[in-house]
């Protein structure tokens, strides 16, 4: 390698450099399948967002109105039916696409609404766990000593308790409580429970990365320059582990969706609004009667988002981690 300092670039106009982020995103865009997965994830998010807006501004989009009875109970998918005059003033023919549940509500609409529940829980839980895990890990890794001892003790203690038991315990304790004047109900209890229990992984990861990087020469250079500890942590160290946070976030998101499903299935989740877990819970009794569509709708929805998030998360890791650079 020769030093091309003065030969190639004589112009004195600053050339825009390509940051590692831009570089990573450029590589990500080359992976067509990952891009497709990203758009599928985006569809879920947009759906959840639309349902939110629909509720907030009373747009009355019928597709999101899961309360409405669209047919008699337990209609098969694609089955044609006729309203009986008692049930509907105007007797008319109808068709349900994904079948109906016991109350005659559309399984399809419930499935769509479940996306909002799941994504709200996963997003809020992720943010809570990151807000706890990242600063704790960074501080423990940077300062070491007694601060580190306390943090390590905290997360090893937490991680000795089986995860599902811990989340359930938190969910039960937090349900229908008023803490600091805020009433915790429905999914709030779930995402608080998940968020407060699942920061251990990211905290451990960040702590390790910070320990690894704090002896690197650019950190030594910053210290020799007179930078404060906080500046070193937030300007020098965290941006260098941020891709790990993003990757972890995308892979963790799936497990949070699963946790919400499990809690709802166990009856600790949202009780008055549809969620995928609640749909599977309801399907327990329905399956015996050959009503498979509610189970199918929920599992397909979970399956697709799990699959695409995992593929996308893996691609993200391959592209954003400078050490795994291939091109």
């Amino acid at each position: 390698m020769t030093d091309l300092t003065t030969t190639t670039e004589n112009s004195n106009k600053p050339v825009k450099g390509r940051s590692l982020w831009a570089d990573g995103i450029r590589r990500l865009r080359k992976r067509k399948f990952a891009v497709v997965c990203f758009f599928v994830v985006l569809v879920y998010f947009i759906l959840a967002g639309l349902i939110y807006l629909n509720e907030a501004f009373n747009w009355n989009i019928s597709l999101f109105d899961w309360r409405e009875s669209v047919g008699p109970s337990y209609q098969k998918p694609w089955a044609e039916f006729e309203w009986t005059p008692e049930e509907q003033d105007l007797a008319e023919k109808g068709r349900t696409f994904f079948g109906t549940d016991f109350l005659g509500q559309s399984t399809f609409r419930k499935m769509l609404y479940g996306a909002k529940t799941s994504i709200t829980v996963a997003l809020c839980a992720s943010i809570i766990s990151l807000l706890i895990g990242v600063p704790l890990g960074a501080i423990a890794g940077y300062y070491r000593g007694w601060v580190d001892d306390i943090v390590v003790w905290l997360f090893t203690t937490l991680s000795t308790i089986p995860y599902i038991l811990l989340v359930m315990a938190f969910a039960v304790v937090l349900r229908e409580r008023t803490i600091f004047g805020v009433e915790i109900k429905g999914i709030t209890a779930i995402y608080l429970a998940i968020g407060l229990t699942s920061w251990v992984g990211i905290c451990r990861l960040i702590r390790g990365e910070i320990i690894k990087r704090k002896e690197s020469e650019y950190v030594l250079a910053a210290r020799a320059m007179g930078c404060s500890s906080l500046r070193i942590i937030f300007i020098h160290l965290l941006p260098n582990v941020f891709h790990i946070i993003i990757i972890n976030f995308s892979l963790r998101f799936v497990s949070f969706i699963h946790a919400e499903v499990i809690l709802s299935f166990l009856g600790l989740g949202e009780t008055d609004k549809p969620s995928w877990g609640a749909m599977i819970d309801a399907a327990r009794t329905e399956l015996a009667r050959n009503v498979w569509w509610e189970m199918a709708a929920a599992t397909v929805a979970i399956f697709i988002i799990s699959l695409v998030l995992n593929i996308f998360g893996d691609a993200l890791r391959d592209c954003l981690d400078p050490k795994l650079r291939t091109d």
Partner: protein
């Protein structure tokens, strides 16, 4: 210890840096790695002291201890008539403006997430010297000084070659107009052709800005080129100190002689008198009794195993100092 004709900018006295070795369940300190064990030297303003020795002899630790990246165990460092090790954190920040450091690894010493402008200009912000456009102008000045151009301003470290990165490292060290720069093996990671460019750049800058260097290296040829004085380290101690010409012409310590005989000569027909040292470098946690060099020394006798010789004047004029009983 040296003649006091001109002003000594840097005075290090009896510097010791010991790292505790912890073992057992209770992490008790069972011993110390004596990385630096009583090093004294001083440097006149505008001069260069070359500090040489093989890997693990503690030369890097000397540099890092001087800027308090590693806490000193004992000893004093007086910079410009001010005690550095006992300075308060406020005073220390001011002192750091005058003492800068350059690092060995051009790939690890620059924060990969920061643009060149931010890397070089960071110190200006941290010390509240300039910001915004003023800072940008100063950074462009510095880039120009080290042979890069303003075109590189918005680029990221991974877009540069090793030599260019080292130039960025130099520009960063110069940003605060320091008086003294500790160069920690600044060229040992570079190709030979680039090494000379960087060395010449350092010499030019020394002339222009009246800089004082502590040049840590293991390459004797490089040290011969840049240094005014040379100190040879072995196992945490300085074993020989002299001005460059005397040391290279007439080495007094057997270790220096062995080192000098190992420099490759660009004359294939010349007869070589290579002194090959037997054995390994002893562990700094358990140094040999007496003279630390005696197990490998071709001249060692009984006395060397028992008594430690300090640096004493040797040769004509007494300007040369060596820690040896025999020569």
């Amino acid at each position: 210890m040296m003649n006091e004709t001109s002003k000594k900018l840097v005075k290090v006295k009896d510097l010791k840096t010991h790292f505790p070795i912890c073992a057992g369940v209770l992490n008790k300190t069972v011993g110390y790695v004596k990385a630096v064990d009583g090093v004294s030297f001083s440097i006149e303003a505008g001069k260069t002291l070359g500090l040489v020795g093989e890997s693990g002899c503690g030369k890097t630790t000397v540099g890092r201890t001087m800027v308090r990246l590693i806490p000193p165990t004992e000893g004093t460092f007086t910079f410009n008539d001010e005690a550095v090790f006992s300075a308060s954190s406020n005073r220390m920040k001011a002192i750091r403006r005058d003492i800068q450091m350059m690092f060995q690894d051009p790939y690890g010493s620059l924060n990969p997430r920061m643009t060149v402008e931010n890397i070089i200009g960071e110190a200006l912000g941290v010390h509240h010297i300039s910001s915004g456009k003023e800072r940008r102008n100063r950074v462009m000045d510095l880039l120009d000084k080290v042979g890069l151009s303003a075109a590189h301003l918005n680029r990221y470290p991974h877009e540069f070659s090793g030599g260019q990165r080292q130039r960025i490292g130099i520009a960063r060290a110069l940003a605060l107009d320091p008086m003294f720069i500790i160069c920690d093996e600044p060229v040992s990671a570079l190709d030979v052709s680039i090494q000379s460019q960087i060395i010449n750049l350092l010499q030019d800058l020394q002339e222009q800005l009246n800089l004082t260097y502590l040049f840590v290296a293991h390459d004797l040829a490089v040290v011969e080129h840049i240094s005014d004085f040379v100190a040879v380290m072995y196992l945490g101690r300085i074993v020989e100190y002299a001005d460059r010409d005397t040391l290279y012409a007439n080495p007094m310590h057997p270790y220096t002689r062995a080192l000098l005989s190992a420099i490759p000569q660009p004359a294939p027909n010349k007869e070589k008198h290579r002194i090959v040292l037997g054995g390994e470098v002893p562990s700094p946690s358990n140094p040999p009794s007496g003279c630390p060099f005696h197990p490998r020394c071709p001249l060692a006798e009984e006395r060397c195993k028992v008594e430690t010789q300090h640096l004493i004047p040797k040769g004509a004029g007494g300007k040369q100092q060596a820690a040896c009983w025999k020569t």
